[in-house]
Point group: C2
Chain length 164, copies 2
């Protein structure tokens, strides 16, 4: 059974190519962007301004193919794909938690943007600490490597045709 989604809008950012793009919002710092929803969805944004962060669900539109073992940006050895956030996945769905700066009509201004300009946006969910914040969670191979996301930038490994 296929699942078919229609983007509700696009994510605008200053990143027009993967090289040099942050690989996580924690590395995106002051990087600004916008969620530009199709006009008809603007009423759904009401009340979202009470939240300081939201969860973006989007489509890695430049991702092609996948391998089940990948060498992530933050490591030097191969890892099982589902233990990574690599964009080449069986379903190329991306997730970023970003800061909400302001909302006007169909546009949400955001901070900490780690996605390519014009990425198709599938959904926005409010970030709720009671549901989503687990600061004590163990994180395997990322235990010592997650901090690298603050400084490491992307390269083109996840869009090359040869699937690294």
């Amino acid at each position: 059974m296929s699942v078919v989604y229609e983007p509700i809008g696009v994510i605008r950012s200053s990143f027009t190519k993967l090289e040099g793009m942050p690989i996580q919002p924690v590395g995106a710092g002051e990087s600004l962007g916008e969620l530009q929803l199709n006009d008809e969805f603007a009423p759904g944004l009401v009340n979202l301004d009470g939240f300081s962060r939201c969860i973006l669900i989007y489509h890695f539109h430049k991702s092609r193919g996948f391998k089940l073992k990948v060498t992530p940006f933050m490591d030097t050895v191969q890892r099982g794909l589902f233990s990574t956030r690599a964009p080449k996945r069986p379903n190329a769905v991306g997730l970023s938690i970003v800061e909400i700066l302001s909302i006007e009509d169909n546009v949400v201004r955001i901070k900490g943007v780690d996605v390519l300009d014009n990425t198709p946006l599938l959904d926005i969910k409010p970030y709720v600490p009671r549901f989503d914040a687990w600061p004590e969670a163990r994180c395997g191979w990322l235990e010592t490597n997650a901090e690298k996301a603050v400084t490491i930038s992307s390269d083109d490994r996840f869009t090359r045709g040869d699937i690294p």
Copy 2:
């Protein structure tokens, strides 16, 4: 541009109907379940056992239609859809953060399951506190209401044909 995904497997749970189902993992407590991936994806699960939690991206397969203003389970007034986690959305994509108990071959045993049995699974991502834990985030209308998710159960409001 439509986005087409093929489920990588299913989420098994003890919930065969919406009535009485937890509305968030925090209300699901000891509720156990399994991710049953299609066999070919099993190699992608390597290294995931180092993580105590994972993020499930799935399709609300019983959800039909949507409204941009909804009365959430945890409130008594209408809220903008994108400030809620209601399953009736333009793209019926769901997100749950669950505990990983064990992994064997293509099966991940999980705890804190708040989804219907046989829900189509689209992706699994490792939960990484450095990326995903923001305990101080403001959460608007859920500031005083989020705790209700620990005790409130679902009803059928999000699958009824009349779209409440």
